[in-house]
Symmetry: C2
């Protein structure tokens, strides 16, 4: 039976808030996702779509404020209150398109990390050439990582792929500049051995081209590199679309070609992160926390809400907790076995 509890949505997060947020909430509600809006009730009065309740949160964290603002200066901020609703058990998941640093700080503070997780990573999926989905993490929560953090990301990403994508034995790859063992920078070379010692289907180093072709299901990297990779995918899709339209304009079959192309591109975008997923989930927390794109329009907000509901419905948190305990336990055992003198 579907969880009747709503997804808590930050009404005042994102470049187009609250208009796009309100519209996105209405779309998602129409698609069967229960939503509760969190924000300043006075400012929302008379604008809330029918069937949606409001939880009052009088403060707003601006994009120019520090990430710690919801912890210190503005404890009543909407970007914090959404996670409190999850922690209290009155919402099944939380979504914000606001200040991502503040969202992560608030989520970490309010929900807390699952045992064994030091640094919750941001995770999303990217469409692969073979029609599958590539789970990519970290996307920017941790721009400076140690090898053991990459090992934690591997476990969390694998648990995600099992729970949400329903893969039985997800193949985990380590993002590198070549497939051979020994490729990669110092960090990646050190992480290789740690990933090997985990109870995962580790397929070794994987290059971006190979990953996008389907050589692995989960691709692990630090948050700086993952952010570059995700935004390069977005940017390249944009460049290709622009150049192709430009090329077709020069062609005698132009109008028909552009019409076909536009339709194809629309359906393509529906498969990509931004439109179909609408955000990234912060893994390793004791609750489902989805961080949407700051530029999210109503459709992307609705996608983020559906995504959050799907993660919650898939039992993501329980799955991550189970796999994390198992893996970190096993890994510690393995490492202990190596380092212990007879």
């Amino acid at each position: 039976m579907a969880d009747p509890r709503p997804v808590a949505l930050d009404a005042f997060g994102g470049d187009k808030a609250p208009d796009a947020i309100l519209e996105g909430a209405a779309i998602a509600l129409g698609q069967g996702v229960p939503v509760v809006l969190v924000g300043d009730a006075d400012r929302l009065k008379g604008r809330v779509p029918r069937g949606i309740e409001v939880v009052h949160a009088p403060e707003i964290v601006g994009m120019d404020e520090s990430a710690s603002t919801p912890l210190r200066r503005k404890p009543k901020a909407s970007i914090r209150r959404i996670f409190e609703l999850v922690a209290e058990g009155s919402a099944q998941a939380a979504v914000t398109c606001g200040h991502s640093g503040a969202a992560m700080a608030a989520a970490m503070h309010v929900l807390g990390a699952i045992p064994g997780v030091d640094r919750p990573p941001l995770c999303t999926v990217v469409p692969r050439r073979d029609g599958g989905q590539l789970v990519l993490l970290d996307l920017g929560a941790n721009v400076d990582c140690k090898p053991e953090h990459l090992a934690q990301f591997a476990v969390l990403g694998e648990a995600y792929a099992r729970a949400v994508l329903k893969l039985e034995r997800p193949r985990v790859g380590l993002l590198a500049n070549g497939e051979e063992r020994g490729k990669g920078n110092t960090q990646v070379r050190a992480a290789f051995g740690k990933l090997e010692s985990l109870p995962l289907a580790f397929v070794g180093n994987v290059e971006p081209l190979g990953a996008l072709r389907g050589e692995c299901d989960v691709l692990v990297c630090d948050g700086f590199v993952g952010n570059v990779m995700l935004k390069t995918v977005e940017g390249t899709v944009e460049v290709v679309g622009h150049v192709l339209r430009d090329e077709l304009r020069r062609n005698p079959g132009a109008l028909l070609g552009r019409w076909l192309l536009d339709g194809a591109f629309r359906r393509f975008r529906q498969r990509t992160t931004y439109d179909s997923v609408g955000g990234a989930v912060l893994l390793g927390l004791d609750g489902v926390a989805v961080v949407g794109h700051g530029r999210a329009d109503a459709r992307a907000v609705a996608s983020a809400l559906r995504y959050a509901r799907n993660c919650a419905a898939a039992g993501l948190v329980a799955s991550v907790r189970h796999d994390a305990l198992l893996a970190f336990g096993a890994a510690e055992g393995a490492l202990a076995g190596i380092s212990t003198e007879p």
Copy 2:
């Protein structure tokens, strides 16, 4: 007047060597690029296109050998001899599609670095949405970099953009996960100040999406990140092409649509790295050294030869030498000024 000296081409480098190499040499020669083939004369006998000479180099470095092989075990390797021809002044540039680590080691050893350059980066161009070209470096020559290396890459990339792309004042960006100052990992944050102190049009941090839209002309990053970005562009182009063809197949106008799309994609690929440039140039050396793709086919080999000839004809080495001296001198002065007590 065009330089009459040939471009030295490693006949035994690349997955499809020597067949694709020989064919590529013939194509380039037909396009007005003089070529000299370097490799085992016995094995090339009877297969060399008319109008092309052979310089004998009896040894071949395999893909499974170490990068130092042309320096130690196989000093007569073709992948080393091509750079010797440049150093001797009998070739205007050198091209290999072989072992890229060995190519870089041999080029560095034989040609030597320009004063002020510690770690020559690999550099190429990627098509931007606005029709311009994005100079991207390093692409993998240096996977672990210090901030001062990124500063050197900035100077070298800017000199490249002036000389080869004929830009008067190239805008230089630092690849990061956000545009604000203070974004980036530890390395990038430390490099920011160093780039600021250089006599360049430094535009600050640039995200991949912004760079591909045209916010800068030169994008600086370490070799690990640059390699990920370049290969993600390649992979995404492949995924988009595949998905679009797939989408069009479902459409009633399928045949016409695919025909239009294939033409557009062909022309698009002609604008991209792999087909139109065919390789990356190793910057900061006392000679033009181009490293082609290991999977290069004949057309890509021809592109790499044209690219090498264009870099040489543009006076790349003299330009880099001039700008490097100027910039590193100025930067050292600036840094000395900061650290010197009154």
